[in-house]
């Protein structure tokens, strides 16, 4: 989805808060532990978790601290998986418990193909309302494969609880001047791109 989470290259942002003021909240370790617990118990996979964050209302997403996003996503998944109802969560919390928006359809991976290190590839001009790990800033852009990773679950399917298919990802090197002509610092930008997102140039 072309959501608010897809921040790469968005403009108007400012100085990095670095070095940071330490401000760990006491509830954060609990949320972190519950997040992992849900993964270990098989309630959801990592892509379902990421997509549950992406499905947050955009203004909520952007205003929420990091672990509030985790909290919202895990709660959403527990409700969607039937572990608890939204009403019960709110009652337990003693007030409104905002959840993410409903999930839509995912999509299966594309026909298998393969690319070699050193080969030029292009990111398909594709759009999906569901989970994807293709950042918008590489859509339609060409780059060169610099490394191949072992097969991972295809996120656009896995994020929707569809039967997992596994496919290689390629570390693809893009030139910033191709991604944002005349409007970027010169750099080589590498993205881990799933095979299904790619086509021959």
């Amino acid at each position: 989805m072309d959501g608010m989470h897809d921040l790469g290259g968005k403009q108007g942002f400012g100085r990095i808060a670095y070095p940071p003021a330490p401000q760990d909240e006491s509830w954060e370790p609990l949320v972190r532990a519950l997040w992992i617990l849900g993964v270990r118990k098989g309630l959801y996979n990592m892509d379902e978790y990421r997509h549950a964050i992406e499905r947050m209302a955009p203004v909520h997403y952007l205003g929420a601290p990091y672990y509030e996003r985790t909290l919202t996503a895990v709660a959403t998944l527990l409700v969607e998986k039937g572990v608890v109802t939204a009403q019960r969560l709110a009652a337990k919390a003693g007030g409104p418990f905002p959840l993410s928006r409903p999930i839509g359809p995912g999509r299966a991976c594309a026909r298998a193909q393969s690319f070699a290190i050193g080969e030029w590839v292009r990111v398909k001009n594709q759009f999906t309302s569901g989970h994807t790990r293709m950042p918008g800033y590489i859509r339609g852009k060409a780059g060169v494969v610099v490394a191949v990773s072992p097969p991972y679950p295809f996120p656009d399917a896995a994020g929707h609880g569809m039967a997992e298919t596994w496919e290689p990802t390629y570390d693809v090197r893009f030139r910033s001047e191709d991604l944002w002509p005349d409007s970027s610092d010169k750099a080589l930008v590498h993205v881990g791109v799933f095979q299904s997102y790619l086509e021959k140039t």
Binding site: G14, Y18, P20, A33, G95, A147, L179, S183, A187, H190
Partner: protein
């Protein structure tokens, strides 16, 4: 979003109860998990790998060829979904820096939990497009001729930067070296001094 949400601590407690009511929460899990993370998933792991790579040519070669194996060899953990660890080698003309633009993925068992600024929107939005400016703002002014390589953690590979060893530390042992390797250097927003 018109109603003010319950405080996050209250929501977190409600979530914990929801797990517990279904028998999904083992006794002491939160405490054990938290302590395990605090004790084991620390940036000192990555620092020790870096220090060893600086002092042991054969390990350096293994690290660059297969950082997953190198991490396991040193007894470190990788979560199941971190299926490949990659060490990115800085050299006098090449500087690497990592980010996750779509969420905040990191090799947290190796370089430690991501710092807040890494998870913030500003870093995620800007470092891919304004790498040199962002690094400079953060205090790392790179020579104009240095090639900057940004790595966006969009799949299940995880990255760590192998920084340059400072001249002044040549001859130090691995223990002393590990003590000066920072998490920021392994993310690539600082040099080791």
């Amino acid at each position: 979003m018109n109603d003010i949400p319950a405080p996050p601590a209250a929501r977190a407690a409600a979530l914990k109860e929801a797990f517990a009511e279904k028998g999904l929460l083992p006794d002491g899990f939160v405490e054990d998990f938290t302590r395990h993370g605090e004790e084991n998933w620390i940036s000192r792991n990555g620092a020790r790998m870096v220090a060893r790579a600086w002092t042991d040519g054969a390990f350096r070669a293994r690290l660059l060829a297969d950082a997953t194996a190198a991490a396991l060899e040193m007894g470190f953990e990788l979560p199941k979904h971190h299926r490949r660890l990659v060490a990115l080698e800085n050299s006098p003309g090449i500087h690497n820096v990592i980010v996750c633009t779509q969420c905040s993925c990191t090799a947290f068992t190796i370089i430690g939990g991501a710092p807040d600024w890494y998870k913030d929107l500003d870093y995620r939005a800007r470092v891919v497009r304004q790498a040199r400016s962002v690094l400079e703002e953060m205090g790392l002014a790179l020579p104009a001729a240095t090639e900057i390589r940004v790595w966006d953690t969009s799949a299940d590979s995880r990255y760590m930067v192998l920084p340059l060893q400072p001249e002044r530390t040549k001859g130090w042992d691995a223990e002393a070296l590990a003590a000066i390797v920072t998490q920021d250097a392994m993310i690539g927003v600082a040099e080791v001094r």
